[in-house]
């Protein structure tokens, strides 16, 4: 009877169980090596839209596999890299590309660092030109004062 009780428990369990999601089918590379290489290069620049900061090249998620298949299909259909990117942006928004678009809102992002180099470089050159490098050597008085300072130091050390 104990065995049957355990069986009943098992029955209840089995009834409530959900089918585990089957693992995604492994990728099928394109037969043309050049096209496959292009596809792989693109994968690295495309974000898996449900993942944290991962490209579809790295992500094990199902949707990443779907996106890889989509990219491969489009490339096989003869679309250029640019067209594939545009298709993805139309479908998922700018968010899908790891390379942000260049537009008014992203000028600071794209050109800020270079502007910083040029601006700061200009200021540096301007200031360096304005300032004289030559300095009058120390006068005898100053030398004496300085010697005193160092001598005091020796005294302090001895003391």
């Amino acid at each position: 009877m104990r065995r049957l009780a355990a069986l009943a428990g098992a029955l209840a369990l089995a009834a409530g169980a959900a089918m585990a999601e089957p693992p995604p089918a492994p990728d099928r590379p394109l037969p043309d090596a050049a096209q496959e290489a292009r596809a792989r290069a693109l994968f690295g620049d495309i974000r898996c839209v449900v993942c944290q900061h991962e490209s579809i090249a790295d992500s094990p998620a199902g949707i990443a596999a779907d996106m890889r298949r989509l990219v491969r299909e489009e490339i096989a259909a003869g679309k250029s890299d640019q067209a594939v990117r545009q298709d993805l942006v139309r479908r998922y928004g700018d968010y899908v590309l790891f390379q942000p678009p260049v537009r008014a809102g992203t000028w600071l992002l794209w050109f800020g660092p270079f502007a910083l180099v040029l601006g700061a470089g200009a200021v540096f050159v301007w200031r360096a030109r304005r300032r004289r490098v030559e300095v009058q050597p120390l006068t005898a008085d100053e030398e004496r004062a300085l010697a005193e300072l160092t001598a005091e130091s020796d005294e302090a050390e001895r003391g």
């Binding site: 492994p26 690295g44 620049d45 928004g93 678009p101 809102g105 992002l109 470089g121």
Partner: protein, 661 residues
């Protein structure tokens, strides 16, 4: 009892940190050596109390005391001892105690130091005490690592199995030593602003801290990157992921700081700029902690995430950095060094270095925060990833590297560019030859990659040339060269080593990025996957049981496609951790000279003929060894510089005193 003693010690540390600031401030205002000294003593006592608390926490983890909520959430009795102990700093609460330990510990070292002027020392101890108070209060009031559970659960809830890795066990302590080491630079900078005194003596004080922190940070980032490389199983080592960027920003600012501090130390120039960088480096550290802990950015590395704690960290960041920068704005105009230099000079080269390093840090900062800010302002969502950094960060870095070898050959004050270039023509010629050779030898031919290789070679050869010039190699008799080499300060060796290490890293990064190959296929036993010049055969798969996981372990043979290289067997695992229901990969790495053959066991699949098969991924990563070797050499260079006698402040004069006494 030990746990509760730890809880008390942490609170004691907090109150002592507050006492530090109170006593040191009073001592500075009343010019009292007794009060000031007591302030330093309080910081040392605070460090000791934090150490006691940390030891108690490690004990709680080691004996699996699940009545401590932190242990119950982050440990499990099945975990190997190393990871039980490492879990003590793997959790948010524990990592914060570690952070506070480094902060008060370094503060204690600052308080112990001799030869610092009274005002500067007392003020910096006060500032370090204030920083420690804020972070200890954060730990005690919002992230108490010693919170108890009654009744205690029977078993712990384990830790992210991805973190069960030796590299990651030691990654946080090193990273934190680097992050928090910059807090001493920060305190010294704020103290210098308070005292209105930024001179070579100050530069001499800041530089060892900057060097040590930077070296720690280098090794910490290196371990983190190496962990990502072989634990995530993606074949990559740097993803420009927000959390990686968060640790890279203080590293870049720190690198700029330790160069600019040289100018301040030797010549008294760039004083304001060095102070600014010292404040910036620790601000970036705090920003990094905020980004990682708050979860405002999504990342593969973000494990412990809590918005409320994020707000607290943001508040601390705002108060500390805000106060420092406001003080800087008011006091910086008053800092005049009076030391002039020509644009072509050692100082000028270091200014250029700073310009590019700061701009590089700006690209990382913008790339990390821009999506967040843009979404907040306009609602538009964008992603910033590798292509952006390839277009901005990489060119900035490469231009900086082109200039770099000339810098160490220029004299201070006014340099002779033509002379420096004349000494470098051999290195330059060899670098160009190397680039051409690379262009012809590597398949497929890539001009940009060849140029990158040339830059790497240029850095290494430039460093060699610098040492060669200093020691008169090949120009004087060997004995003379050896004598000169011996006489060369350790700092000079350290610099040459660090620059060469950067070159080594660039060689590895360029070759790996440009010529790596990847293949994946579902293969049955005996099936073969080819990638680059290597073929990998799946020989056997067996299920093995680890201490807290089940694994499918594949045994694979790595064979050359052609040629007679020896065959080697590697094992790769796919582990399942039942406690958290997670799956991880253990990569099979076959080291082939400088190259890696990197094998990942994937999930089970059915082959075309219906046979049982496994997805096997093979990455061929040429010269990947150099990517991790380069930064290690750089860190070693930093350590060598740190050992330079001239940086041991006060050591020389004290020894003299002892002799005379």
């Amino acid at each position: 009892m030990i746990v509760e003693l730890g809880a008390f010690a942490l609170i004691l540390a907090l109150v002592l940190a507050g006492l530090t600031t109170a006593l040191a401030t009073a001592g500075r205002l009343r010019l009292s050596p007794v009060l000031a000294g007591a302030g330093g003593g309080a910081l040392i006592a605070s460090a000791a109390a934090t150490a006691l608390a940390f030891a108690a926490l490690i004990y709680a983890f080691a004996v699996s005391d699940f009545s401590v909520s932190n242990v119950a959430l982050n440990s499990h009795t099945d975990k190997p001892m190393l990871y039980k102990v490492a879990a003590a700093w793997g959790s948010h609460e524990g990592s914060l105690v570690l952070w506070c330990l480094v902060m008060t510990g370094f503060g204690g070292a600052l308080a112990q130091a001799r030869g610092l002027p009274f005002g500067l020392k007392t003020s910096s101890v006060a500032v370090q005490g204030a920083l420690s108070t804020m972070f200890l209060a954060f730990a005690v009031f919002t992230s108490n690592p010693f919170a108890r559970l009654d009744p205690a659960p029977v078993q712990g809830a384990s830790l992210n199995p991805l973190l069960q890795d030796p590299a990651l066990a030691f990654h946080p302590p090193l990273l934190y030593a680097g992050y928090v080491g910059f807090s001493v630079c920060f305190s010294l900078a704020v103290a210098a602003l308070i005292e209105k005194r930024v001179d070579p003596a100050w530069g001499r004080w800041v530089r060892p801290w900057a060097l040590a922190s930077w070296a720690f940070l280098t090794v910490g980032i290196l371990l983190g990157s190496f962990w990502a490389y072989y634990e995530l199983g993606w074949g990559g080592w740097w993803f420009w992921d927000p959390v990686e960027n968060a640790s890279f920003m203080p590293w870049l600012a720190g690198a700029a700081l330790l160069h600019s501090a040289i100018v301040t130390e030797r010549r008294g120039a760039l004083a304001g700029w060095t102070v600014f960088l010292a404040i910036l480096a620790f601000t970036f550290s705090m920003l990094g902690a905020f980004l990682v802990r708050s979860g405002v950015l999504t990342s593969v590395h973000a494990f412990a995430v809590d918005p409320e704690r994020g707000m607290m960290l943001l508040a601390i960041l705002g108060v500390a950095a805000g106060a420092a920068f406001i003080l800087f704005a008011f006091r910086a105009p008053a800092i005049r060094s009076g030391a002039a230099f020509a644009p072509i000079s050692r100082e000028g080269a270091l200014v250029l270095n700073n310009l590019f390093l700061t701009a590089a840090a700006a690209t990382v900062l913008l790339g990390t925060l821009y999506p967040l800010i843009l979404e907040g302002i306009s609602g538009a969502t964008i992603s910033v990833g590798p292509p952006y950094f390839a277009a901005t960060f990489v060119p900035l870095l490469l231009v900086a590297c082109l200039i770099l070898p000339a810098g160490p050959l220029l004299a201070w004050k006014r340099g002779d560019l033509k002379g420096a270039l004349q000494r470098l023509w051999l290195a330059a010629g060899l670098a160009v030859v190397a680039a051409f050779a690379a262009f012809l030898l590597f398949e497929p031919r890539k001009a940009l990659a060849a140029a990158g290789l040339g830059v790497g070679a240029w850095l290494i050869l430039g460093a060699l040339a610098e040492v060669g010039v200093r020691t008169k190699a090949f120009r004087a008799p060997l004995a003379e060269t050896l004598r000169r080499g011996k006489g060369l300060p350790l700092g000079a060796w350290g610099m040459a080593l660090a620059h060469a290490g950067l070159g080594v890293f660039i060689l590895g990064a360029v070759v790996e990025t440009s010529f790596k190959a990847e293949a994946a296929a579902a293969v049955p036993l005996g099936g073969v996957v080819s990638s680059g010049p290597w073929r990998v055969r799946l020989d056997a798969v067996e299920v093995i049981e680890g201490p807290n996981y089940l694994a499918e372990q594949g045994r694979l043979t790595v064979m050359p496609v052609e040629g007679r290289a020896v065959e080697r067997v590697v094992t790769a695992e796919r582990r399942f951790f039942p406690a958290g229901g997670q799956t991880t990969t253990e990569v099979g790495l076959d080291f082939r000279g400088l190259d890696d053959v990197y094998v990942v066991m994937g999930e089970r699949a059915r082959a075309d003929d219906g046979q049982q098969a496994w997805t096997v991924r093979v990455y061929y990563n040429p010269w990947a060894r150099l990517i991790f070797l380069g930064p290690a050499i750089m860190a070693l260079g930093g350590v060598l510089s740190l050992m330079d006698r001239r940086l041991r402040v006060g050591a020389g004069s004290r020894r003299k005193m002892e002799v005379k006494a």
